[in-house]
């Protein structure tokens, strides 16, 4: 299950897919009092188990990326599980299979290196005092790879049409000029 967040609902129809980052130390699973969230042997953090989830919202509040969403009607947390039913039999996750611009990509590091030669994947994030490493990577410009991405930097950022405080693309262009 994938969540779509609106960037600036009042002015734009633009959405951004919120895919699970599949952390090495999944905070959602750490805080789950009912052991409903488990990580499979291949490192995919699964959605809450229906028979165990008590709809306490701990995971929703704890996730640094805001991935888990509570379905109050079903009393069940549901989140992206990388379409485990599809990926476990060799198919692409639904989001990556339908993304027309390949902004979402599912594949090996070699494949993405060939497809996006100017980008480098990064999987270290900073959330307050918490350093998070993830299975899902984000792509950053190759010539300006930060040590980690600050998850909170976008939080108080003005939306579209306004100034972007931490613009990696701009920084990359600047550093190219220099």
């Amino acid at each position: 299950m994938i969540q779509l967040d609106y960037i600036d609902r009042a002015n734009s129809t633009q959405t951004v897919p919120v895919v699970c980052m599949h952390c090495d130390s999944p905070t959602c699973a750490e805080v789950c009092p009912a052991h409903a969230i488990k990580r499979t042997g291949d490192g995919v953090v699964q959605s809450a188990k229906k028979s165990r989830c008590i709809a306490c919202n701990n995971c929703v509040l704890a996730c640094p990326f805001g991935i888990p969403k509570m379905n109050t009607r079903m009393e069940l947390m549901m989140k992206c599980d990388q379409c485990y039913d599809r990926t476990s039999i060799g198919k692409l996750p639904m989001c990556a299979s339908v993304c027309p611009s390949q902004a979402l990509f599912f594949g090996t590091e070699e494949e993405i290196a060939r497809l996006r030669p100017n980008s480098a994947p990064i999987n270290t994030f900073q959330f307050g005092a918490q350093t998070i490493t993830t299975r899902t990577r984000m792509l950053v410009p190759k010539n300006n790879v930060p040590e980690q991405l600050d998850v909170l930097s976008a939080m108080y950022q003005p939306t579209i049409g306004n100034v972007i405080e931490e613009d990696l693309l701009l920084d990359a262009m600047n550093s190219e000029d220099a």
Partner: protein
């Protein structure tokens, strides 16, 4: 240990390896394989402990039996006088200890029988029916032969424990068990 560690794929928040983590983190792992391994182990431990308890129970029964055998037959005890009971009448008594209820029945002028009153099916008290030549357990319609305590009908499969009797000088004495334990 190395096999277990290979199943732990998630990194604990403090970043230390799995073997340095507190026990609860290993018992309640967030990793699917480790979690399944734990619940499998717990199930096996449950099976093992339960069957061990059964085995211990069997040995306990053996021990109790040996202890009873070693204790020998209980002493003689006067329970009634011959003239007290008419033929066909019965009398309750407790033998060898208080709480071990038994029943004495006079079948003929010279023939007395006594049985432990607990039915060998589910321990209901049995009642004598000398007119039918039976002992009757009304709980589940169990019937025993009044002459020797053998089960003849209904759910009981074992004979009633029989109390040995001795008639001396117009008095009836209980003298040990003939079979079974009251």
């Amino acid at each position: 240990m190395s096999d277990e560690d290979s199943e732990v794929i998630s990194v604990a928040p403090d970043g230390r390896p799995a073997k340095d983590q507190p026990a609860w983190r290993r018992d309640f792992s967030i990793d699917w394989p480790e979690d399944e391994y734990r619940s499998r182990r717990e199930f096996v431990a449950f099976l093992m402990l339960t069957s061990a308890a059964f085995v211990a129970g069997q040995f306990w029964i053996l021990l109790i039996q040996a202890w009873r055998k070693a204790a020998g037959q209980p002493p003689l005890k006067e329970i009634a006088s011959v003239n007290e009971l008419a033929v066909g009448q019965s009398k309750l008594f407790e033998y060898p200890k208080r709480g071990n209820h038994c029943i004495l029945v006079r079948l003929s002028d010279t023939n007395f029988v006594a049985y432990g009153q607990k039915c060998t099916h589910l321990s209901c008290p049995v009642l004598p029916r000398p007119d039918l030549g039976r002992m009757h357990c009304p709980c589940h319609e169990g019937w025993f032969d009044i002459r020797n305590g053998e089960p003849v009908a209904g759910p009981p499969r074992r004979p009633l424990p029989r109390v040995g009797l001795e008639v001396r000088e117009g008095k009836v004495f209980a003298n040990g068990y003939v079979e079974g334990v009251i």
